[in-house]
Symmetry: C2
């Protein structure tokens, strides 16, 4: 459950100020709880809400305090949060360890400890909880779209990677549970966050962008449990020698050796993303599809060239295109037009309609040699329309075997991609990307089976 | 110059027929020349145009005949095209060598030879010429968007890869010169097409999807010349053992060994795409940017995490992040705020505005240690708005050094991406993709320099 009362410390009506953007955002996203603006100079109201000079003046239970006052003032207002028994604090303000002010940051740590009060930040965007509509971001909704409610949670050590990937996620078919940008990690760090999300019921899949773990050993310990509970997709910045140097300059992260990280990721069942896009590709297959029983993928297509590219892509990703069982070959021969060659990739022709797609999907799902399906549905073809998208969605709803779709194209195609994604089918733009996502699912499924 | 008179043989008012779709398409795309519908059963008009029973009845000069009659009838009407002195023919009809009817296909070849008449197809989508608005596609504009006019030409051995990638291209910032889907290549084949586009003045960049070259040696000979004139981006289906088998089943292509193809691609200066998306990524950098002088890339960013990811991506793609020259370090130190660390990746801060971007770009372009620029412009940040997009466009217009932009995001970001792409700047969604495109530019530039 999200916070029901939030104190915004540093709230102001002055446009362009972070404290103004945070207030405006609470209004824009429709937060359902109480908002208390706090500002040392407050008189009367701020943006329509009763304002307070100090959090101590509110005299109500405060679930969350969001601090955006200047760095020098942060220790004072943080101590007041402690006295007011705020249950949690997000410090958005920058100007701490990242600019050499370890002294100021140390005081934050002491105050947090003294009051047993969890603190996220400083130097971060804060948190977003789509269900509670709690959203401490100071980036306006006009510049960054907010994702719909869903099962993917996303943690980012970098504000820019966090905000831009969050924005990208909002354009995808899947929804978000929580977003956390934790900045300097003075108190709450990567270990706490991974542990929290591992046990969070609203989180089905975790995406993690990190540049370095301060408590590496503890992180691995928590990860061992987390990856047995749910997929943890990790994108690690600074995996190359020059990247590690850039990461050190950015978040003072000691990046460690690439080999060491890769070994850890593999050993403990992380799903390793190598690009920003991988995070999205992987999140959406894990969010919607069951684990696989193996790496044998049946490719179904209404375009021959895509079938060839898919075959290459499976091979390049360590996946196998099996032979169909004898029974299923006979069954498909009966229902498919004579011109269709009964073998994988199963090219059912440019004139394939919904019923042909449905018959093929049923046979492939029944086949004991098939672990998952890649259904290439090109909507440029004469046979493909909304009913084909429906056929894919209806088949996927049976949850017989993992299925992904591939549709390449623009306006007409994209409207059908939305239909399929809203129906719970992960859709990819190319066979290459789909194969990459299937390989992530296969590898993670294998880890879970071994770890069970 | 495109055709000014087209005979559509098999034209009909019956919806759902290919001959109907082709006619409708000539109307929809606004072809400026004369259209003559031909149908053995024609009486009066077809879709508002005077109709003819045979091309021989038209008695006018015919620049192009498009044939969509049943396969068995094709030799007869093709011979009539020869007698009518049609300057070129596209045979859309399928049912030839791809289904074992080599006999029918051989007759096409003989007739073409007899009349010295170039024939594209059979079993293809045909051709599109954006300037002449000649467009033989039987896929309606409601299902597949048409790209704007530009300098990229795209040839596809596969109809499905052709139509879907064409559709994707229409959503990109760059425009198209010609599209050619050549199907079975009975007469005009990959050698003729590459040779034609290599010398075509409207074509700046070639994208080629192929599954196999029938005349491999001649293809290489033509390629040697072509790649010295312009970039040829090639995506080869069937590069893996299983993919080669699928390609053979699809287009009867003998795919050859992966190693052999890769060696040829490298030796003769092809730009090898490994995915459908690569074709777009590479086409847009070649379409807009000059060749590079080397592989030293300056990364400029308004987000630290993206700077780290870009540094990794450069390394992974064989590119180098140089040290800035001493003079430029001093120059940048003077114009940048104290908090900005003067080194690459140059993180100019989340509050960076257009003037800070412009000052940084000027310095980086002047630096003798820099061959090209990756400008990461995240529009989620408070400082970034339309004026930042303008600054990038204005700088790129000076054509000092190759430049690409990176912007990750949804609605607000995408509108600014359009501004930049319409202004001639290739924009990528992630540093990874941008680095891949820069590496393609660097490698091709190196080839051209060596081949000069």
């Amino acid at each position: 459950m999200g916070p029901r009362s939030v104190a915004v410390i540093g709230a102001t009506e002055k446009p362009g100020k972070v404290g103004n953007a945070i207030m405006q955002n609470y209004i824009d996203v429709g937060f359902q709880g109480r908002v208390y603006p706090v500002n040392i100079n407050a008189e009367g109201k701020i943006m329509g809400f009763d304002a307070y000079k100090s959090i101590l003046d509110i005299k109500k239970e405060i679930d969350l305090a969001v601090i955006s006052v200047p760095a020098e003032v942060v220790p004072k207002v943080l101590a007041e949060c402690g006295k007011a028994k705020a249950k949690g604090v997000v410090i958005v303000t920058s100007g701490f360890a990242e600019v050499g002010r370890e002294d100021l940051q140390d005081r934050i740590v002491s105050i947090s400890k003294k009051y047993h009060m969890p603190v996220i930040g400083p130097n971060c965007l804060g948190v977003m909880d789509t269900r509670a509509r709690n959203d401490t971001l100071f980036l306006p909704t006009s510049k960054i779209d907010r994702p719909k409610i869903g099962g993917v949670s996303f943690v980012s050590q970098s504000g820019s990677v966090g905000s831009s990937l969050l924005d990208l996620i909002s354009g995808e078919g899947f929804g978000l549970a929580r977003f956390i940008s934790y900045g300097n990690a003075a108190v709450v760090d990567e270990v706490d966050l991974l542990n929290y999300l591992a046990h969070d019921k609203e989180t089905k899949v975790i995406i993690y962008y990190m540049e370095g773990a301060k408590r590496g050993r503890e992180f691995v310990d928590v990860a061992k449990t987390a990856t047995k509970l749910k997929p943890v997709v990790i994108l690690k910045g600074g995996m190359t020698p020059s990247g590690a140097s850039a990461a050190h300059s950015h978040t003072a992260s000691l990046a460690g050796s690439t080999q060491a990280y890769e070994a850890v990721f593999r050993q403990f069942g992380f799903v390793e993303a190598r690009t920003l896009e991988d995070c999205l590709y992987f999140a959406k297959i894990f969010d919607t599809q069951p684990l696989t029983t193996g790496n044998r993928i049946a490719v179904l297509t209404n375009g021959g060239g895509h079938g060839v590219l898919a075959t290459d892509a499976l091979y390049n990703n360590g996946l196998i295109m099996p032979e169909l069982s004898k029974e299923n070959q006979k069954r498909l021969r009966k229902v498919m037009p004579g011109i269709v060659n009964i073998r994988l990739p199963l090219d059912i022709g440019g004139d394939a309609d919904a019923s042909r797609f449905a018959a093929a999907l049923d046979a492939l799902s029944d086949d004991k040699n098939v672990d998952a399906i890649m259904a290439i549905t090109l909507f440029q073809t004469p046979g493909a329309d909304e009913s084909v998208a429906d056929a894919i969605v209806n088949h996927a709803a049976k949850k017989l075997k993992p299925i992904v779709a591939v549709s390449t194209g623009s306006t007409y195609t994209k409207s059908h991609v939305s239909l399929m994604e809203n129906g719970g089918v992960p859709v990819y733009e190319s066979p290459d990307v789909a194969a990459k996502a299937l390989a992530a699912l296969v590898n993670y499924s294998r880890y879970r089976k071994g770890a069970a």
